[in-house]
């Protein structure tokens, strides 16, 4: 693990992320048999790129295209009265989620509140057969009884730390950075 400065630390580099995604795809393929209607839905904005990367891996394992959508949860947040309005992004799901296995995909699992909002947002679009949650990083500090089904890496953090997942189009530039809070 390399150090950028005292506060910022690269937790995962591009190779590590690629390996983790491959492993997660295998887990997904194992728990959801081929032929079942699995679709991936990335949560805006951090989960979208991740969902595409996972779908690519899953597609290779199954030899078919796995549909990917993107879901904006701004309207369903529980803290809208306590912050400036978050930027809204498009919800773009070009398939019916009803009776599908929807895998929600997010980059970091923290309080669980984003997932709660995503479940509400998803319910507006149909009635999935089941919903699973896949995250690249579980950083702890859950505040709700929600737990991911697929986790890339679990890490120890303090509540004030920042976990920055960078997944640009070029896979070589992907990394996960932990920024410790100033204490």
């Amino acid at each position: 693990m390399s150090t950028i400065n005292e506060k910022k630390r690269v937790l995962l580099d591009a190779t590590a992320i690629a390996n983790i995604l491959q492993h997660m795809a295998k887990e997904l393929a194992k728990k959801n048999h081929p032929g079942t209607d699995v679709v991936l839905v990335g949560i805006q904005t951090g989960g979208v790129q991740l969902a595409h990367r996972l779908a690519e891996q899953l597609g290779k394992l199954w030899g078919r295209t796995v549909p990917v959508g993107q879901l904006d949860i701004s309207m369903y947040r529980d803290d809208l009265d306590h912050r400036f309005a978050p930027k809204v992004h498009p919800t773009d799901i070009l398939f019916d989620v009803s009776d599908k296995t929807v895998v929600l995909v997010d980059d970091v699992f923290f309080s669980g509140r984003t997932t709660r909002a995503a479940l509400d947002a998803l319910a507006e679009l149909g009635r999935p057969k089941r919903v699973q949650l896949a995250v690249l990083i579980d950083r702890g500090h859950r505040e709700l009884p929600i737990r991911p089904d697929f986790v890339g890496q679990t890490i120890d953090t303090a509540p004030g730390d920042r976990v920055d997942v960078q997944l640009p189009d070029n896979p070589q530039e992907c990394k996960v950075v932990l920024e410790k809070s100033a204490e």
């Binding site: 904005t45 951090g46 904006d72 701004s74 309207m75 369903y76 803290d79 809208l80 009265d81 306590h82 912050r83 400036f84 309005a85 978050p86 930027k87 809204v88 992004h89 498009p90 919800t91 997010d106 980059d107 970091v108 699992f109 923290f110 309080s111 669980g112 509140r113 984003t114 509400d120 507006e124 679009l125 950083r139 920042r162 976990v163 920055d164 997942v165 960078q166």
Partner: protein
């Protein structure tokens, strides 16, 4: 950028970035309007009061629907059936509404500055739905949204606003938004209603229709407001139509892809004839659809806007977190 204002009072005081934030937000809300289930819970439990001291149908319905789509409760309050008729002051009326825990007050008033006044005396979010001849910010925003959607740009766009500019709040809000985003604005109409003083804002002023439309990308027609016209200022409907009314023949002077816009309600046969109003270049009904998306965006954005003292006393930490999280790629939850 992050929207921080508690109210939407006018477009004159907004930065170009704030206008773009509204347009971007409205873009997403427009997509939601096309879904089978259109209601989102962003304002659940909130109360929106439509305080329309001046008559309006489409703006009030548009605000009402926008609030309902965001799951807010709506109360409509019109001057005809209200205590304002009994001599209650605007301030007292508004304070009574606030005492009932209204969270948003959407106000239309014949006095310019009425929304600004309310914003100083109320904690509720105040949205200007038209104040006198001053501004009609949501109309200006929906017009710019429509132009952007149809022409894919605002910077460099040549927009001609035609009609009674002097008494038009729609014209003023259009002018502010368009100039801030880099459009070229031409104003045209009878000299009494289109004074040269508008040149000081950076608009081109002409009283010749052909000059005004020959290189226009957009013609935004204003309604001739019979109810507001002072007889001394207005040449008469027949003369207006013969000099400035838009019909198929006259439109031949304009580029073939010119966009025809109108805030409604249309006086068919006065400022525009039916063939043009219903023609392929007309986006008048798209403006109505876009108005709903813009008003949803405004309600959503100002809901997060805070009073200065709220920021200092209670929400400073979380509000600044919100600012930070807009800048990094992903902080998750």
């Amino acid at each position: 950028m992050t929207w921080t204002r508690k109210d939407l009072l006018d477009l004159q005081s907004l930065s170009p970035e704030e206008i773009i934030t509204i347009l971007d937000t409205a873009r997403v809300f427009k997509d939601i309007g096309a879904r089978p289930r259109k209601v989102m819970p962003a304002l659940r439990g909130k109360t929106v009061v439509n305080l329309f001291v001046e008559p309006s149908t489409r703006t009030r319905i548009s605000f009402e629907l926008a609030a309902l789509r965001l799951a807010a409760d709506v109360i409509n309050f019109t001057a005809e059936a209200s205590s304002l008729r009994k001599g209650e002051t605007l301030k007292d009326t508004a304070r009574n509404l606030e005492a009932l825990n209204a969270d948003f007050i959407v106000i239309r008033h014949s006095a310019a500055g009425a929304p600004h006044f309310l914003s100083r005396v109320l904690k509720a979010h105040v949205i200007n739905a038209g104040d006198g001849a001053h501004e009609h910010p949501t109309q200006g925003l929906l017009d710019v949204f429509t132009m952007l959607e149809e022409k894919k740009r605002i910077a460099g766009l040549r927009v001609t606003i035609l009609g009674d500019i002097l008494y038009s709040r729609v014209a003023r809000s259009n002018i502010w938004a368009l100039l801030k985003l880099g459009a070229h604005v031409t104003l045209c109409g009878p000299p009494t209603l289109v004074p040269r003083t508008f040149e000081e804002l950076g608009c081109r002023v002409t009283h010749d229709l052909e000059t005004a439309i020959k290189d226009a990308d957009v013609i935004n027609l204003l309604r001739i407001q019979h109810e507001r016209q002072r007889k001394t200022m207005f040449p008469g409907l027949g003369e207006y139509t013969s000099l400035f009314g838009i019909n198929r023949a006259r439109l031949k002077s304009a580029p073939p892809d010119v966009l025809i816009m109108h805030p409604g309600p249309i006086n068919r046969g006065v400022e525009v004839d039916s063939e043009v109003a219903d023609g392929s270049q007309s986006v008048i009904l798209k403006q109505v659809t876009n108005g709903l998306a813009v008003r949803m965006a405004i309600l959503y954005l100002v809901n997060g806007g805070k009073l200065p003292q709220e920021l200092i006393e209670t929400d400073a930490g979380r509000a600044s977190d919100a600012l930070n999280s807009q800048q990094t790629t992903s902080t998750a939850e």
